[in-house]
Subunit: 466 residues, 4 copies
């Protein structure tokens, strides 16, 4: 069953969430088993290149290996593995079959399987990050930046604990995610760049390569340089696990930022709030039984994918433990890391689509803001009272708000009636009074901040805005 | 890309770990997207059956739907979903297209999507448990039982903290897993039987079905009875999440037992211990660079798969939270539950293969036992001294062992030289003395216990031994 | 520093969340280190009781031990442990110091530390469950039941995806949690009852006890019977881990139900929704800077505690793995299980307090319901159209809702204007039409269901309602 | 119950693992509730300092606040909180009570609770890292470095999959952990330095401070500069969560390195291996029933603590999600972060004690190495055969090892008897032959590597070796 319908697959990543062919082909190009074998072949090639550079074998061998790996298919390697029951030996055998007798001895020369496996993984995750993950993340970042700028002056009630607090602007609210996500894009870039390779043999002491090289670390550096990688300070049969641990942490914590953003967007779509919407297709069905429903399915999906993938970090932490010069109990588990990447990317691509069409309902934003407009004044009022010397301003205003809620009168109305507070009121400057009368002006520097945040991250991440 | 090479897939479950076609086809029969749609169709069919039973529609409608769903393909449903962007509405449309105008209104009648989705999931996990999971688990249990019986008299040094303690038998050691795994097989059976369905409509209050039925819960019971299911005590748009939570817990904790067993077997294969082995094929390669290696790769793989899937439980716990009458943030995440099942089953099948050929090296078991044979006597010695009235037997023997380690003399030699202890020695019965002289007899009831455990669980789980 | 200010403690459970003295004393009575040592002493006592019963020692010894353990303090045991560096040996020494020379040999006779430790833990968790956990959980369950009954007729808009769906009643919504939490209370009871002990010695083969008993399993049963416990089918140095795994799972999944409930209550308190409230004390401050804020802090706290403790399950799953006849890597980790219990209980006690004073704002509930009253009609309308033979009722109504949203007209107004749909409208019975005109009647059996659920669980859990 | 016996506490960190008074007092100085309140007071002080600097209040106010906070006790603050039910308002009230009427208004001026809470947490974690965590970690690192250097020439068999592979040295094996742990110490340092504060008010838009400052970000910078902190690029009511997420990740992943190290040390203490030991006190009891046992209890404890604390990362990831300008569901959960730190530190301190007395059994190391000495030759042999042109060297040697295992003859003996292989043997240089005859020389550059790794990290981390 080498080829089969996607509907026979087990993982949703390989059926339902692989339906967008273009996106899936990109994921697959880097993260499928085919890709894995291709990257492993690249490492075998880099090895002979470094051997040739060091005069151990001829350039002819390099050519032969280059040709050989260009012809290799995973089907062939797996067929061979059936016999050897060892995947890298199978790969080596397949390459050897395609080269001359002279070249054969130099294939996999002095290396152990995990010189190839770990180096290939670092290489492919690094390339995936550079060529696919980071560009996709930046594409979303740019969309968020554009919303932040577009809506920087849209006054929105700030919400803490789900309660109306003091105002922000919607652009400022989105700028939060520009900043947090930007921070994590940077972390993904850095941790991917820091992924390491190794060509230090079966237990990491360069036992085999030292037979041929006085300075085997230099030979290792040569091989890795062909791939744009560096060695870790120490290795055993495997690269120190922490480089990949940090890389996956950067992905998982980037995902967390998007889950938080999606939660916000979900809640802003609540029937009672209605401040944003997902654009719905004309034929799109919201509910199979309630034809009037317009559900925030895409944001729900992102939150859900985060719930599915975040706990994978526990696997990665467990994989830090490996006995002595290594045991193989991280082998199967680490094969699932591509799932995390695809889970993240498919959520990011989904958010790009949905945020590009994000509908902001300015009327509802205004309506919601007006709901507690008067109460919003409580904060600046208490602060101003305090600054004018009221000894217990917070308490005074707290009681006032209770009174206002019961009587329905505005806070400023009540103050002017209060013998105790009236004197303070009269000390206020015109500008301060204006703010208490027009709470929509009490937005601090929300608008400038949105701009600054976008500017900072567009520069830092080198994202050009149109 | 509806059909593709498995090597383009992302999940190892869909490429590398799907290479054994027969096993994979079984997993796929229950746990693929194709299977999911088939089970959803079954629920739609059960619905019209119950409608017919209640005289709402004719038996003809049932026949039409039966025919319709037998022809349905996931390809068709997904093509329709592209338009509706709603998977169950797509399924309903596909069924409706295939039935007469008269039958159309009864398809999906009064139900909401998740009446179908949740009921179908409960149905398929229940059937998967009955027909695939439990039988596979029992097959492994039987293999373990056979080893436990076969090796019930094989004296082996007991190990606590990796240190030689007092003896057991290898059969007794395996009986531990017969018991723990048996316990969990039972739990899988019970929790699967307890999975629930629902036909209570969009928010669980039977709003729609109450339009047509005075006692809509009875109608719900009718539909579910067709599928061998019961309703949960209460439901919203979805079934109460705890039934599936408990089911997955039973799987994950069963997996934990196997991870512990695999760890034991791994360590018993250490070069210095060598008490068990995996049978190696004649052509099998242990290491790509160290031709002499025979690695415990299968047990390592099982431990590794457990590390990959155990943390998925965190997802399931998070999915207990759903806002009000539900949000959809459990939708994508719960689609990954089949991965857990396949991860477990593929490990169980692996263990069946490897345990069937488990090689026990009786010589090494004996050699290891002999290593500390004399020290083993410390425990019964201290207990017997105490029982004969020594006021501080533990301390006396502890010092004796230190002396023995330094001098190389046996404990019983030292005792007879000790003025203080000699009198106690002389009180010992012949049988007691024999035990101190032949520590391999100090195995308690290890052998009988192995038998009893096997007997208990073979009865409880109805596993017939050959 | 044997005694110190709670403000020097590290764990919030031992400072901030231990401020309610009465509650904390209860937790401490069962779950502190003092309690642990008390339970371990109980097991040592049960041991000599069974020895006396079997004629190995005299009843006098039992009396001596009973007296001795009544005088023991953890301070004394820990002082002794400083010397022995072994906690159970320290306990044994402390008991031995307090009894006669004749009695000394029977203390800890034939047992290993973990016979005591594991049996004592099962005993204390079982007793904690019976005497503290389950009663506390039931107290909350009763409060929920009372709300469900009180509000069974309070029509509330049902919400799926945060969107208004079709109506339920608030009592029905709370009944969801009566059912889910009831289910889990039952699970806690059952899994606690099922906790097991062991008196099978250092490696579980009864090596030592077999020196004195032909049927050592019967002796074990005698000891455990004194404590109301049973043995596990098999044991090594420790009880099979799965009994405690299942117990903690029941606690964690019960916690999940409460987290979901708390999320619902939080969101119903959103400024825009305002359907429920926490009763605020007259002097209570909502925010240090925004005097008008009334935050759902208690529900937020419960959700937060769940986030803190749910992941502890990962520890418990890892502790299923123990090498050979045991390693000690579960020792420190399992000492933290009491934290999980106290985390849960303190959240339950918090919810009892806050739910007893739950304020339901019937006006807001009504206001929110009215918001989309007309759209709610979409569901019954489509179903009725379908039942009267409309070939594509869902699609027809979906389009109608779009039209209604744009034009502001009611659905039933639009239908009567539609040439295509009017004939269907005219077929409706009076009762059906009434429902479409008064959507608040479209609540299915929400009200009865609330009653039934409460009745079912009050019987099942033996909770008497006032 | 403000003061109580530690044996009444719930958390093992507050009873059992707090018995070493000196260590505990250090933890408590930074991580107790007392410490927390002290740090929050520091932030309130920094605030008035910045106000004074900006000419808003006088230096007198600073003095008053300084005096006031020096007198504050947590007892007092908690007593006040009983009334306000708000912890920061309680702190503010307590400070205000102690200052003059003139100073009162400037306390907490323009800030929101979480300006104080989050800034104080960043400050204390940063200081804890600098003053306690990193120095403690470096102390362990130094001990490891010393072992690595001391044992750099101790030939030890390398182990992969628990199987003897090719040799390393014990110093090289320890250097692995010098490198991995060094890497993580660096990460802890960097992530702690990067912790951020905020003084941006209730929703992060500087609403209140903008009433008084044209450039409120500069005022924020002034406050934070007093504390050695910087602001995050954007904040809401809280600091962006990712800074603390990254910090905790650095701690958890550092812990993982130690768990792996501890696993290695545990296994090297197995009875059959016996290469290292924990120094046991003369009076220390290994087992309550087996007086001869010497268990690796400290390494087991570290592994166990890692299992207890690693999953806490899941809490931290969940706390990345906070609705809108924040909800409070991260409040209780983040109070448990000090537990993680103390869990780690107490394990590190344990390892320092035990590693300082690490006993290496050179005889056993040699004995184990000799066990498979001849088979070790397989790797260099195959590589040399290949380099001399053997077309299928791996396969040839693999078969030879099987033959050797069956016949008991050495590989080099068999080669010289083999007609096919003998010609290759004769091509070997003297040096190569010597290696095949003395496998203990086949250690690659293990010894130099140990030195280099120590040198690299001692420089990078500025650790002076004696």
């Amino acid at each position: 069953m080498i080829s089969r319908s996607i509907f026979d697959n087990i993982s949703p990543l390989d059926h339902r969430y692989s339906m967008r062919s273009e996106e899936f082909e990109e994921y697959s190009r880097y993260l499928s088993e085919r890709a894995k074998i291709r990257y492993q072949s690249e490492v075998e090639l880099a090895l002979v290149k470094a051997l040739a550079k060091n005069g151990i074998c001829s350039e002819e061998v390099v050519k032969e290996v280059k040709q050989a790996i260009s012809e290799l298919s995973p089907e062939e390697v797996y067929a061979e593995e059936k016999k050897t029951r060892h995947n890298i030996r199978a790969l080596v055998n397949c390459i050897q079959k395609r080269v001359s007798e002279d070249a054969k001895p130099y294939i996999h020369f002095t290396t152990t399987s995990f010189d190839i496996v770990d180096t290939a993984n670092s290489l492919r995750y690094k390339e995936t990050a550079e060529e696919l993950i980071v560009p996709t993340l930046k594409k979303l970042e740019k969309v968020l930046m554009e919303i932040a700028l577009r809506e920087k002056d849209t006054v929105q009630v700030g919400r803490t604990h789900g309660q109306h607090a003091v105002p922000v602007t919607f652009g400022f609210a989105v700028a939060e995610y520009v900043s947090r996500f930007g921070n994590k894009i940077h972390a993904v870039e850095e941790s991917a760049k820091n992924l390491r390779g190794k060509i230090s043999g079966a237990v990491g002491a360069y036992n085999a390569s030292h037979l041929f090289f006085d300075k085997p670390e230099e030979f290792e550096a040569d091989v890795l340089a062909e791939l744009g990688l560096k060695a870790s300070t120490h290795s055993t049969q495997i690269v120190e696990p922490e480089y990949i641990t940090d890389f996956v942490h950067s992905l998982i914590s980037a995902f967390g930022v998007l889950a938080s953003f999606s939660d916000d967007m979900r809640h802003l779509q609540r029937s009672e709030i209605g401040e944003v919407g997902e654009h719905f297709g004309k034929d799109q069905v919201g509910s199979s039984t309630m034809p009037h429903k317009r559900n925030p399915i895409n944001y729900e999906n992102v939150k859900s994918m985060w719930k599915a993938f975040m706990p994978h970090m526990v696997t990665v932490y467990q994989d830090q433990l490996s006995e002595h010069q290594r045991d193989l109990t991280n082998s199967a588990s680490s094969r699932f890391i591509p799932e995390i990447i695809v889970g993240l990317l498919s959520s990011v691509n989904r958010l790009i689509r949905v945020c590009e069409k994000l509908v902001v309902d300015h009327e509802n934003i205004k309506r919601n803001f007006e709901m507690n407009k008067e109460m919003i004044v409580a904060e600046p009022l208490y602060i101003l009272l305090a600054s004018y010397g009221h000894p217990d301003a917070h308490e005074a205003v707290r009681k006032l708000t209770l009174e206002s809620q019961q009587s329905g009168e505005t806070l400023r109305g009540l103050i002017q009636k209060s013998e105790e507070l009236k004197p303070y009121w009269e000390k206020l400057t015109d500008k301060q009074m204006e703010l208490l009368i027009n709470p929509e002006k009490y937005i601090g520097i929300a608008s400038q901040k949105a701009e600054k945040v976008v500017e900072y991250w567009s520069e830092k991440l080198d994202i050009e805005l149109d």
